[in-house]
Amino acid sequence: MSVKAATAKPVRLRIQPGRAFIYLFLIIGASIAIFPFFWMVLTSLKTQTEVARGAFWPEQFRWYNYLEAWSEAEWGPYFDHSGRWIPGYFLNTLFIAACTVTANLFTNVLAAYAFARIRFPGKNVIFFAFLATMMIPSEVTIIPNFLLVSKLGWVNNYLGLIVPWTASVFYIFLLRQFFMGIPNELYDAALIDGCGHLRFLIQIVLPLSKAALVTVVLLSFIGSWNSFLWPLIVARDVALYPIQVGLRSFITEMGNEVQLMMAAATFVIVPVLVLYFFTQKQFTEGIATTGLKG
């Protein structure tokens, strides 16, 4: 089922012109996939007149655009007029993502373990109910959630941005699949040695499930980094904006300064791309596992 398996049994091709065609097709496709990023970086290095003229290649790389884009909005930490320290978009997002990822690990690992290993009445019914919530479109829940969060006083508050996303059926499912793959004999042996569930989970299951845990951390981090609609509604104050909402207001405010817009888009995208670049194996395998079995 894993992506690795895909590379193992290739169907052999013999005709060479066909092979050339394959390479041509794949390379053209890959160029289309990567072109927007290429154009984004290229545009972020142009002057405004070059952008307006529609020049494809800048005469000189204008790195200063990045500095300008950074200073035009509250990307980094700063002190506001009353001397209050404001973390800025990047630190806001990092804080929200760190909290979301940690809480997600805690709630989802426990629940996934219970569904995979512990026997309790109503387990299947509850698990089915969990899975059913995946069917609910977010359009239905967003209004009641907003009302609930505002009743709790969490609008314009980190809690409102974090707490609703601290559990996910998707990750519970992913981890449960993984935990179920751990042999029963291991648990039986541990049980004879007097090991309880919590201890078995922490000492045996978690060290064996590093790959799955890394996948959950990665996916929930990127999900948190890229989340847009909910923070757009809940974060009213600029001081609380996470990065995507910040980028959106930057885009609408900058209007014609396309080179700055592209510079901002670059530094919003690049951290995730770097992360993906170093962890792509876990990433695609996680996607493939849950994707296929979902």
Partner: protein
């Protein structure tokens, strides 16, 4: 009775430091005691169960760990009453309680923010709800939605969106996955490149697309111009793509089709999803037993026949899954539509509402003009529609999907 076995555990020497468990013991014992004190009056059975649980964790606290003293203090003056609960029954009861405790945190969050809101949304949809709750209006919000053009228009836009993105995206992904599955060089790198769009934020990449399709300075129009094709106004063009194409070649097309602006959005959607679909197709291809190909080759099947009679049918569960995801995703399409309009300086869902998908309409009604009741009614209609589509697809799928 169990304590003697519990004393010695070979697992004790493993990676996690012992005081860590001392802390857990103390923590657990504390809560079990709270539970016991609270419940002794009304539910003596539960109280004893709690005591049992506390005892089960106590074997480690005799080992002189950092937290053991605290743990013992917290346990305090409890008298053993183990004769009521022993052996298998006790273990089963403990396991049950543990199971519920383990799923408790996730259940609270999911109930509060994902499950109960559905019922609350239905309640809201039965009221006039302009920021704060107003009169009960029954199903008036639903009839209002079903009788306005805007709602039907958004469904039409969504339908075009599905028709214009799902088949092309799946076909392209299948071809790419099939080619990547061959024995070629650099497939790892290519696969990574194809997957890149999926990890980027739709806000950033949507803005990049909006600017690439800019009518005056965007590279797309420059390229079209350079090869002598007529340029388009892309995100600013509310007229149908067929009308515009017909005009170019001097044909009168009676059928407008999706607006050019919506087609621009579709380009983005296809670009964004092809890599994801191809990754999942690749995993599906890897799951097809190689023996089937071998057997068919011995029977003299050509490459096209292998593809048509083995790959396609055996890949059908994957195709089915991906089309379901893609269609449901189309009903929820929001971020990129929103941001592409914003970055092109057109109104959200514009021009002339031709990119107002179902979720854009709901957003506009919920957070543009805060008519929560009306927006909730529309979101419920959308929910029902998604359910119908999924069930329909499931029905078709059960007839068409082949499993190995």
């Amino acid at each position: 009775m169990e304590a003697s076995i519990l004393q010695k555990s070979p697992l004790d020497g493993l990676a996690v430091p012992h005081c860590f468990f001392g802390f857990f013991d103390a923590f657990r014992d504390f809560w079990y005691n709270v539970l016991r004190r609270l419940s002794m009056g009304q539910f003596p059975q539960l109280g004893i169960l709690a005591w049992e649980l506390g005892k089960a964790g106590s074997h480690r606290s005799q080992k002189g760990t950092l937290m053991a003293g605290l743990s013992d203090t917290l346990r305090g003056d409890i008298q053993p009453r183990m004769e009521l609960f022993s052996g298998r029954r006790a273990r089963r009861a403990r396991e049950t309680l543990q199971g519920y405790l383990f799923i408790l945190p996730a259940t609270i969050i999911l109930l509060l923010f994902h499950f109960l809101p559905v019922f609350y949304a239905f309640y809201i949809s039965l009221h006039k709800w302009f920021i704060v709750k107003g009169d009960y209006v029954g199903l008036a919000n639903y009839t209002r939605a079903l009788t306005t053009d805007r709602f039907w228009n958004s469904l039409k836009v969504t339908l075009w969106y599905v028709v214009g993105t799902v088949p092309i995206q799946l076909l392209l992904a299948l071809v790419i996955a099939y080619l990547l599955f061959q024995k070629i060089r650099g497939k790892e790198g290519l696969r990574m490149v194809y997957f890149l769009p999926y990890v980027t934020s739709t806000v950033a990449s949507g803005a990049v697309f909006a600017k690439m399709f800019n009518p005056t300075f965007g590279p797309i129009n420059k390229a079209l111009d350079a090869i002598g094709l007529p340029v388009l106004r892309w995100m600013k063009e509310p007229r149908g793509i067929f009308t515009v194409m017909g005009e170019m070649w001097g044909i009168n097309v009676p059928f407008g089709g999706p607006s050019v602006a919506l087609v621009t959005v579709m380009f983005f959607v296809i670009w964004f999803w092809v890599g994801y679909d191809a990754t999942i197709f690749l995993a599906g291809l890897g799951a097809i037993p190689y023996e089937l190909y071998e057997a068919a080759k011995i029977d003299g099947a050509g490459r096209w026949q292998l593809f048509r009679y083995i790959t396609i049918p055996l890949l059908s569960p994957t195709t089915f899954f991906l089309s379901l995801i893609a269609i449901i995703g189309s009903f929820k399409a929001f971020n990129h539509v929103f941001i592409m309009a914003a970055a092109s300086a057109t109104e959200i869902g514009g021009p002339l509402r031709t990119t107002t998908t179902a979720s854009i309409l709901i957003y506009n009604n919920a957070f543009g003009t805060p008519t929560f009741g009306y927006a909730s009614a529309m979101s419920f209609l959308l929910f029902v529609l998604i359910l119908i589509v999924s069930m329909l697809q499931n029905y078709i799928g059960s007839k068409q999907v082949h499993y190995v």
